[in-house]
């Protein structure tokens, strides 16, 4: 059952999404409804191809839902235009990816302050952006690596830089897609601890896509997805009732 709350950070209502067309059309999300409250740490778990990454992309405005309602941080995606969605991603949402997505022709600091390039205004101008970049690098414990290229870093360090970049504009919502999927156990644990710290100290809402038990075990709530549907507590698909009624 979806949780009802007056001002959730994320609110999805009967979201459908399919790829392809005609006979090759493959449904990925089938009537997903979901609410995430401010300050929550929510783990989205499910098998590969279950639709959890697609769900995360739709929440982040990186993909469109075919139907249904999506409202994130008070912005209704149905009416928001590209510029408004871009501003939302830039100011209020942070992304952390499995493969880090750092630009190798820039050093760590330049990667971290990259979101400032698209900001409407950055406090203190370019110098302010650099100061802020150093501060978030310090937060993830990589101050001394500010001028190293990503190719010179270990996997864990790269992910820390990526987290620093996600934190650059002090987001309210952090969307993480398999953040430990490319890390060894110890490094993965460090990253999980960092997320926990960010959530506890900054009150950032975390929505983490993972298939690792050690990650989901740290979440306040675990949402399981299977075949594009959210499973209820006993492992039954919420959408089953809808399918019956359809």
């Amino acid at each position: 059952m979806a949780i009802q709350s007056p001002n959730p950070v994320v609110r999805l209502r009967d979201v459908h999404k399919a790829y392809g067309s005609g006979a090759g059309r493959t449904p990925v999300l089938r009537g997903v409804s979901l609410e995430v409250q401010s300050g929550e740490v929510v783990a989205l778990v499910g098998q590969s191809g279950s639709g959890k990454s697609t769900l995360l992309n739709i929440v982040g405005g990186l993909d469109d839902a075919d139907s249904g309602g999506v409202e994130v941080l008070g912005v209704d995606y149905a009416v928001a235009r590209d510029a408004a969605l871009s501003r939302l991603r830039n100011d209020r949402i942070g992304f952390v990816f499995q493969f880090f997505n750092l630009l190798d022709h820039m050093d760590c600091l330049a990667n971290v302050i990259l979101p400032a390039s698209f900001a409407r205004e950055t406090r203190g101008g370019p110098r302010g952006a650099i100061e802020r970049g150093r501060a978030v690098l310090d937060r993830v414990g990589l101050t001394e690596l500010a001028h190293r290229r990503p190719s010179e870093l270990s996997g864990g360090q790269k992910q820390r830089v990526a987290i620093a970049r996600a934190l650059f504009h002090s987001p309210e919502l952090l969307l993480c897609d398999e953040p430990t999927g490319n890390l060894d156990t110890d490094t993965g644990r460090e990253v999980i601890e960092l997320f926990t710290d960010i959530n506890r100290k900054d009150g950032v809402t975390l929505l983490i896509v993972t298939h690792e038990e050690r990650v989901s075990s740290t979440a306040g709530r675990v949402i399981r997805i299977s075949d594009g549907c959210i499973l209820d507590g006993d492992g039954q698909a919420e959408a089953r009732a809808e399918e019956r009624s359809a």
Partner: protein, 466 residues
């Protein structure tokens, strides 16, 4: 939309990272823009030079050819006189009217040069000295005979031998001194002397006229004899009213206003000589009337008026003919440059499409970090514009360097002729700026579709690229 400063930083980062792609894309544009600037500057340089020699806002009114004499290449001059000159002077758009009068009787020139006695039948005409007032030789190009009138004559002669002052000669008819008749020749005549005459007779080529005069020992050594009423052509049968007599002239230098083949002297001399040898009618009939108009746009209406109202015509303007030929040749080369730049723009589009494909994941990342579609479009168009800017500057430099090299080679290998300009190129600011603008515009054109494709890419799918 990103601020220009941030966009420039991001574009700069990308350009440094993709140096090879950048160089490959820029190469064609460099060649195209260099060719564009080179040919346009060459065209403008040569055009300016030709129009300096043959100004097109200056026309020459002549009498129409009569059917019988015209077939022999001779022209009737009966209608060109002071009355016609006055009518032309009153016409709208006419700035100056300068009648020319041909020496209408035979005359024989003798010039001692490098121990060689050069003898030639003289063709010449006269013009008003005020027409040359703004030229270096203007101060010396005067009707001295008219100025000497009424003044006591300085005596010279065989016994006791008296000498005339510098630049004067002794008229043996009455043993009096007279200033030598000032004469000017055209560049064309000097060119003919250099290329046709000097070579075959082992005489030195005349380079800069001023240097030549100094080498000869100054103007006092630039004298030549003119035997009025004499000729080397034995078949000449003209009835002259006066006996042959010798005068002396001084060659002051070169002028573009001089008759193309022959010598030009102040018109007062020609009037008196024509009267002396042929009578009053020959002294009041002009061979042509040079008309300076307010602008080249006036040429058409003026030509029409001259033909309809005066029954006269304009001599074909060589300047206009040359300018037309240069325009056509320039157009041809500009078309080639345009083709090169267009092909380069297509090449840029191809390279950018490849870039968009290779940088899908980066585009997706930028979108995730808050780049709007307009920002992505701006980044790719910014890169295209940067290629255009750099290629334009390099192309500009290449064109100027090539032009300079051509000038140097021309100076080294072409003979030092009076026709040769200081530079064959006019690298005007608007040509350089135009080249730069074209370069940037064509690159933006090439980058437009790839930039649009990049901007429209779905971020989630772009990020999914491995």
């Amino acid at each position: 939309m990103m601020s220009p400063g941030r966009l420039a930083r991001l574009v700069g980062h990308n350009a440094i990272r993709n140096r090879r792609h950048f160089a490959l894309s820029a190469f064609g544009i460099v060649v195209g823009i260099a060719a564009f600037i080179f040919f346009l500057a060459l065209s403008m340089g040569v055009r300016g030079w030709v129009l300096e020699l043959f100004p097109i806002d200056q026309v020459e009114v002549i009498a129409p050819r009569t059917s019988l004499i015209g077939s022999l290449g001779m022209e009737s001059q009966a209608d060109l006189n002071d009355a016609v000159a006055a009518k032309i002077r009153e016409h709208d758009g006419v700035r100056a009217v300068v009648p020319r009068m041909s020496i209408a009787f035979p005359a024989l020139g003798v010039w001692w040069y490098q121990d060689t006695k050069l003898k030639f039948d003289v063709v010449g005409d006269g013009i008003n000295p005020t027409y040359l007032a703004d030229e270096p030789q203007g101060a010396l190009f005067r009707d001295y005979e008219a100025e000497e009138k009424g003044k006591p004559a300085v005596q010279c002669g065989p016994a006791p031998k008296l000498f005339c002052p510098d630049l004067n000669y002794c008229d043996t008819r009455n043993n009096t001194c007279h200033h030598r008749v000032p004469m000017l020749v055209s560049r064309k005549l000097v060119e003919i002397y250099n290329t046709q005459f000097a070579k075959s007779r082992g005489l030195p080529v005349i380079g800069a006229m001023e240097e030549f005069i100094v080498q000869r020992g100054g103007l006092s050594k630039m004298r030549l004899h003119l035997d009025l009423g004499a000729t080397m052509i034995e078949a000449t049968t003209s009835t002259l009213r006066g006996p042959p007599r010798r005068i002396e002239g001084v060659l002051l230098g070169i002028s573009d206003k001089a008759i193309p083949i022959g010598v030009t002297v102040p018109i007062g001399y020609v009037e008196r000589w024509n009267r002396e040898y042929l009578g009053d009618e020959a002294a009041s009939t002009y061979s042509s009337i040079v008309v300076q108009l307010d602008g080249k746009d006036q040429v058409g209406p003026f030509a029409s008026w001259v033909e309809k109202q005066l029954g006269l015509r304009l001599q074909d303007s060589q300047g206009q003919q040359f300018a037309t030929v240069i325009f056509v040749v320039t157009l041809f080369f500009l078309l080639i440059s345009f083709c090169i730049v267009t092909i380069s723009a297509i090449n840029i589009a191809h390279n950018f499409f490849m870039q968009v494909s290779e940088r899908r994941r980066e585009i997706g990342l930028l979108r995730a970090l808050g780049a709007s579609q307009a920002d992505i479009r701006g980044v790719f168009l910014g890169e295209a514009a940067l290629i255009g800017l750099v290629a334009g500057v390099v192309g500009m430099g290449a064109a100027v360097a090539t032009g300079t090299a051509v000038n140097l080679l021309a100076r080294q290998f072409l003979p030092d002729l009076p026709f040769q300009p200081a530079s064959f190129f006019a690298f005007e600011w608007w040509i350089l700026a135009g080249g730069l603008v074209f370069s940037v515009l064509f690159c933006l054109l090439g980058g437009f579709l790839p930039a649009r494709k990049a901007a429209r890419m779905a971020p989630a799918q772009a990020l999914a690229q491995q």
